[in-house]
Symmetry: D2
C-alpha cells in the first residue's frame, strides 16, 4: 500500500488551493441554490467496483506490451486494487474473474480485509479454454450444440456462484462470446434456445438474495452474429429467467451511434437494469478509460440514474471494465473511478424541477441547457474535498507517483517477457 506520509505530503502541497477552489465553487453553487456539502456527502458514499483483471496491462489481438510490476496473481491484484481505493475512496469493492482468480475463499477474504476491500459480482469465463478442460469453447459454451459442453459451462458458472457465496458476493455476471463467424454457421433460434436452457440451469442455482446479470455485446469475438447481441435479446433472457435476472450494460457493447442512455431508461422502466460495465469507446469495444472519449455521454447515463434514484428496488451495480494498454493500470482505474464520480456529481447538480417544467412545455432549448449546466460545472473541488475528508489524496495520481508504488512492485514482481506475441 501507499505510505500515508507520502499521501499527506502530496495533500499538503494542494490543500490550500483546494480550500480556495471549494469555497469558490461553493459560492457559485449557492448562487444557483445548491448546497455544496450535500452534494459532497452523496459523492463521498458513491463507489464503483474495480475489475481484478483491470490492474494488469491489456492488449489487442496484435500485441500486448506489459508494463513494469505486472501483478502475478489475485493477491498482487488485490494489492493494486487496495491502492486505488486507498487513494480515491471511490472503489470499495473488487469483481473477480474465475478461473483467473480462483483461490481458497479464506485466502481471498483475508487478503481483501488486509487491503480494505469487499467483493463485487463474480464473473465466469467460458470464452477461453483452460489447460485441463474437457470440452472446448471454440464453437460456443452455454449455447454449444453439444450438451456436454453446455453442461461444463453451466457447472463452471455454478462453481463461480459457490465461491462467490463464500466471499460475500451477491451477483454473477455472465458474458459469453458465443455466436458465429459465417452466415449459416449456426441456427439463430436453436442456438438461443440452447442458451436459455443452460442459463435457466445456472439461474436455478442462484441463492435467493443474488442477482444474475447477463451482458449483451454486438460483436467480438464472434464476427457475424452473437447470441446475446443487444439489449433486446438481453431483455428476453431476463424475462425468461425470472425476477433475479437482470441486464448488464457495458457502454462499449453497442452498435455505432446507439443512444445508450435510452437503453438505460428502458431497462429501468421495466425493472431489468442490473448494472454497468463502465468504460469508453470510439469505434467498437475499445475498453478505453471511462469518460476519456465522450464524457457527456457518461453524464447522460448518470442523468438517467439520478432521475431514477427514487424508484423502488432500483439499485444497479456499478463496475469499471477497461483494458489499459498504454497507461499504468492503477492510474487509469483511479482516474476512471473519479470520472464516474464526476458524472454522478454533475448529474446531482441538475435542477430537475426546472428540467421537468421545460420538458412539459416542449422548451427543448431550455431543457437541454438546464441539463448541460450540470455537466458544465467543474465539480473537481467536490470530489477532491470528499477524498481529502476520507483520508485519501487530493490528487491521487500525483500522490501515487510520489509514493513510488510502481517501482516498488516492479522490483518485487518479475518482468514478463515473451508476452507480447499477440494473436493475429
Amino acid at each position: 500500500m501507499i505510505n500515508k506520509d507520502a499521501v499527506e505530503q502530496s495533500n499538503d502541497a494542494a490543500r490550500a488551493q483546494l480550500a480556495a477552489d471549494y469555497d469558490a465553487l461553493g459560492g457559485h453553487l449557492e448562487r444557483r441554490g445548491i448546497d455544496i456539502d450535500a452534494v459532497k456527502a452523496k459523492v463521498a458514499t458513491y463507489g464503483v467496483a474495480v475489475p481484478s483483471w483491470g490492474v494488469g496491462t491489456g492488449g489487442t489481438r496484435f500485441a500486448r506490451f506489459p508494463g513494469p510490476g505486472e501483478p502475478r496473481d489475485i493477491f498482487d491484484k488485490l494489492d493494486d486494487c487496495g491502492v486505488i481505493q486507498q487513494l480515491t475512496n471511490a472503489t470499495p469493492s473488487v469483481s473477480l474473474h474465475i478461473p483467473w482468480d480462483a483461490q481458497p475463499a479464506a485466502d481471498l477474504i483475508a487478503k481483501a480485509e488486509e487491503v480494505g476491500l469487499r467483493f463485487d459480482a463474480m464473473n465466469s469465463n467460458t470464452f477461453q479454454d483452460q489447460p485441463d478442460q474437457a470440452h472446448s469453447y471454440k464453437f460456443g459454451s452455454l449455447s454449444h450444440v453439444d450438451a456436454a459442453t453446455r453442461q461444463q459451462a453451466v457447472d463452471h458458472n455454478i462453481a463461480c456462484i459457490e465461491l462467490g457465496e463464500q466471499i460475500g458476493s451477491k451477483a454473477l455476471t455472465i458474458w459469453v462470446g458465443d455466436g458465429s463467424n459465417f452466415p449459416g454457421q449456426t441456427n439463430f433460434t436453436r442456438q438461443f434456445e440452447r442458451y436459455l436452457d443452460a442459463a435457466r440451469e445456472v439461474y436455478g442455482a442462484l441463492p435467493a438474495d443474488w442477482t444474475l446479470l447477463t451482458e449483451h455485446k454486438m460483436y467480438e469475438p464472434a464476427f457475424y452474429s452473437t447470441v446475446v447481441q443487444d439489449w433486446g435479446t438481453n431483455l428476453l433472457i431476463a424475462q425468461q429467467l425470472g425476477d433475479k435476472a437482470k441486464c448488464l450494460v457495458d457502454l462499449g457493447h453497442h452498435a455505432p451511434n446507439v443512444n445508450i442512455e435510452m437503453i438505460v431508461a428502458r431497462l429501468t422502466q421495466f425493472g431489468k437494469l442490473g448494472g454497468f460495465h463502465f468504460n469508453d469507446s470510439k469505434y467498437g469495444d475499445d475498453d478505453l478509460d471511462t469518460g476519456s472519449i465522450d464524457p457527456y455521454r457518461l453524464f447522460l447515463v448518470f442523468n438517467e440514474l439520478v432521475e431514477s434514484a427514487e424508484r423502488p428496488d432500483f439499485d444497479p451495480m456499478h463496475m469499471l471494465d477497461q483494458s489499459h494498454n498504454v497507461t499504468d493500470p492503477i492510474e487509469s482505474l483511479m482516474t476512471s473511478a473519479m470520472e464516474v464520480q464526476r458524472a454522478y456529481a454533475q448529474a446531482l447538480l441538475v435542477d430537475r424541477t426546472a428540467l421537468k417544467g421545460f420538458q412539459e412545455d416542449n422548451d427543448a432549448l431550455m431543457a437541454t441547457t438546464t441539463l448541460k449546466q450540470g455537466f458544465r460545472t467543474d465539480v473537481e473541488p467536490i470530489l477532491a474535498m470528499a477524498r481529502l475528508e476520507a483520508g485519501c489524496a487530493i490528487d491521487p495520481i500525483a500522490a501515487y507517483r510520489a509514493a513510488g508504488y510502481r517501482a516498488k512492485v516492479a522490483a518485487e514482481r518479475p518482468a514478463l517477457s515473451g508476452a507480447g506475441g499477440g494473436i493475429v
Copy 2:
C-alpha cells in the same frame, strides 16, 4: 393499364431464350436434386404489397425532382400499382396511407377491383400536420406531453382502422416520428409511458381478426432519440399491448452494422414478427430499391423466413417501402418486387437438411457454402417463367417501356412545378 398486345409482343421476343434458360436451369437443379417446377409454383403464389405513396417520386429534405406523369391522387396511384401487378404478378395488394389516400371506401374498392388489386395494411400518419388539424405534431403525436394531441393521434389511428375495415384490410401499421433532438428535451420514460397508453387505446379499437404492427426506427425525423428506436422497444410494445400486436421490421431502420436477419429470428421465436418494409440502404434510412445495395442481406432475411415457414401461426406481412428519387417509380417497384421474389426463390433452393447437419457438426465452412449455393443460383428463369405463365411479362421493364405507359399518363396528368423546393 398496359396494352396486352404490347406485353405479348415483348414476350415473343424473349420466349425462346427463356425456354432455353429455364431448361438449362431445370437440368442444373435436377442434378442438385431440386424440382424446378415445384420452386416455380411457390414463387408464383408469392406476393409483396406495394405502398401507394411509392408510385410518386420521392425526395430528400434538400429537394424533390418530380418525373413526368406523377399520380395526382390515390386513383392515379392505383392505376400505377395495377400496372406493376399486371406485368409482374408479384404485387397483388396495395397499402394505403391516410390521410393521403383517404377517399370513400366504395370508390377505393371499385378502383381496386378495376385494376385487380387488394388492400394490404393501413398506414396512419401522425408525423405531419394537416391543414385543418387542431393540434400540431411538431413535438410528438402518440407520446406528446399534451393529452389532447395524443387523443387526436389516437382518433386518427382509429379512423384508419375504420376505413380499413370497409375496404378489407386486416392490419394497421403505426410509425411515429416522436422523439427528441436534444438531450433533456424529453423524459425517456414518461414519453414511452404516454406512447404505451395511447397505443393501448388504438389497440382497443382493433377488430378481432386484425393485427397492429408497430415499426421501430433508429432516427429521423428525430435526431437525438426516437421513442420506438429499435426492436427491443418495439418488442416491449408488442408485449404490453397483447397478442394482436406485432413488430414490423423495416430493413433500413437499424443502427450501422446491425445483424437484421437475427432480429427477424428473435421476433419469430417469440411470436412477435408481424411484417416487413422491404427496401435497401447503405447509410441510413435511404429507402433505396430492395436488393440494390446488399442482395445477400435480403437473401439472409428470406433464409430465416423459409426456415420458419412451418411454424404455426407464422405469417408476417410483406410490403415494399421505398423512395424513388431518380428512377421511374413503377420501374423501381417492379424490379424490387422481383428482387424480393428472387431472394425467396434462392432461399427455397437451400438444402436445409445438409445445412442443419453442418450446423450440428460445427462445420462453419460447409454450412455457409450450403447457404450460399442457394444465393449463387441465378433463378431469373424461374421468376420469368412464373410471370409468363401468369400472363405477365418475361421482362417487365422492357414491356413497360415498349408500352409507353409513362408517356401516356404524362399527357394526362399535369406536370408538377415548384415541387422541387425542398426543406433544408
Copy 3:
C-alpha cells in the same frame, strides 16, 4: 432589433452574480497560472458566421413545422441575424445562399449596415431546381453528364462570386449533392473528371484575394455514392485546383466514428483547411445545435485550431450550419455561437507546454488529463463578461425572451401554412 433597455434590465438581474462568478473563476485560474482577462480578451474578438438560412425553421423529408414569425426574405433574415449579434457579439457576419438570398447588392449592403453585420462566404445552390431553370439538377450539377447542365452550374457559381464581390465577401463555398443512388448509375471516375473540369472553370473566375471552399459529405441527398464523399476527395480537389482552393469541414458530414479532429490536423498540416460548418450530430448529417450532442468533440477540434494558431497563413473560416426543427432558430443560433466560443475558451486554457512534455514522454494519462482540464473548466463567466463588456446580454436567451422579439415579428410576418407537407 432588441430594445436596449430590455437588455439592460436583463443584465441588471444577473450582474452581481456574474461579477462573483468571474472573480471566483479568476481566482481559480490564477492558481493555475492563467490570466482570466487575457482569455476574455481573445474570446471577445472571436466570431463565427451565421447562415442566413439558419434563422428559418428547418425540417426533414417527412415534415417541416414552422414556428411563428418566420422570416420572409433575406431582409427579415438579416434582422434576425442582427439580433443574434446584438445579444451575443459572437456572430459578426452572415453567409448568404444564392439564389435564396439574391437581391441587389446595394440593398444587401444597406441592410447589413443597419443591423451591424458583414458578409461571410457566399454559398451556391445547385442541389435544387429553380422555377425558371433550363436544365434540371436531378442527375447532378457540376458533374452532370450533360455539358449544358454543367455550364449552367458553373455560371451560377460565377454569379455567386460576382454578387459576393459587390458585398464584400471573400469566399465561395461549393457543396453539391451530386452522386448516385444505385451501383452502376454513374462511372465514378468520369463523374469526378467532369466535376474537376467544372470546378476549374469556377476557380478561374475567382478574384485574387478569394478562397474557394469545397465541402465534402458522405451521403444525402445521394444514397449510394457522392462525388465529394470525404476529405480525401476534397483534398484532391483542392490540390488539383490551386492555392486558393481549400477544404471546408462540416462536422456532420463524416462516416460514423470518424476522428474529425484528426482530419482537421491533416488538412492544416498540408495547408488545405479552409473553414468549418459547425453543428452537431448523433447519426448522420443531423444538423443539430453545435455542442449539443458531443461537446468534447467540439473542444478537440478547437484544440487543433489553437494548437495551429501560430502557423503562417492559417486562418480558416468559421460558420454555423444547422437545422433548427424544434427550437426558435434565433435562440439556437445564439446558444450555438456561444458553444463555439466556449470550446475556443476552453482550448485556450490548455497548458500546452505541459501537454507537449507529456506527449514526448508517452505519458498518455497525464497528456489527456491536461487536455481535459481545459475542457472541464466552466468558462461561462468569461463568455458572459465578454458579452457584458461589449454591451450585449449576460444571458442572451433570457434577454431575448424578455424583449418579446419573436412575438413582435410574428405579428408582422404572416404565419406559414401548408408548409408542413414534407417530402417522403
Copy 4:
C-alpha cells in the same frame, strides 16, 4: 501435398455434372452474346496471393482456439499454401511476414520451388515486440517520439526489402499500428511528420523496380487515433514519397458504411492504387473470409478493376488477408481465393457498352440492372472448368477432405496447448 489420385477420384465424381453445367451456362452466355471460353481463359490466369500467416488459426484478444496440425514454421506454412494452389490454381504466390517467416533466402526459395509457389509482397512487423528487441513499439514505431525506435523500425523494413530482393519479391507492404488511445496522447501533426520522415528512409532503400505499399486502417490496435487512418492520409503518404509509393486497400479497414469501391476508383484515377488485402467484415476489421458477408461489395470492387483494366500501368497487387478462427485455414483460403475469382469472372460478364450508354442517359435503373446481371450469373462452372483444365480439383474442399491432408499433418505437427490464453 495432396495425392493426385485423390484429386482425380474426386474429379471423376463431378466431371459429368460439371460438363453439363458448363454447357448449360455456355449456352446461356451465348444467348447473351458472351463467349464462355474467353471468360474461362481470363479466369485461368488470375491469381491472388496467400498470406503465410493465414494458414495458422487466428484468434481474438479473448482467445485463440488452435486446430489440429497447426504449421510450426514458414516451411510448414509453405506446404499448406502449396496445397491451396495445387487444388485451386488460384494462388500462385505467398506473402511473407517478417520476422515470423525470416529464414535463409536459399531455404525459402527451395521450399517455394518444391511446392510450386512464388513470393509476393514482403510484410514488415513493427506492431509487436520481439524478444531481443532494443526498443519497444508500445508507443509506436515509424512515428515514435524517440528517434532510436523509429530507426529500429526503419532498419527492420529495410531488412525486409533485402530479404525480399533475394527471394524475388517486388514490393514491401507497411502496416503500422501507431496511433493513440487518448485525446492528447499524441500530437497528430508531429506524429505524422515523424512517420513521413521514417517512411522516406524506407522508400530510399527501395530497389528501382519495387513498389512500397502503405496500408491505412481506421482503428485497432489504437483506439482513439491511428496515424494512417484512412485513404486520405494514405494518399498523402504516397504523394509525399514518390512514384513507387502506392496505397494498399484492405477491405476491412474503413469506417462503417464507407463506399470502398469508390475509394478504389479514386486511387486508380490518380495512379495510386497499389493493391488489396481481400477479406470480408460486418463490424470492424473482422478479417472474415472474402465474400462471406457481402459478396456484392466484392463484385463492385472488381467491377472497378475490370473497368480500369486497360489503363496504362494499372496492375494492383491482390492478396488475401484473413483470420480463420473457426474453420480449417486451408479450406477458408481455398474458398476465398475462389470467391475472388468469382467476383472477377462476374465483373467480366458485365456488358460495358450497354452500361456506359445507360450511364450517359441517366438511366439509373437499367445501369444498375446491367451491372447486377453480371453478379447474378452463377459462374461456378467457369471456375470449376478452369480448375479442372489446370489439373486441379473441381471441388477443392471435397478433394482436400477426401485426401486427408489435415489428419496427416496433425500427426506430424505437435498439437498446440496453452495457446488459447488470449489477451483481454
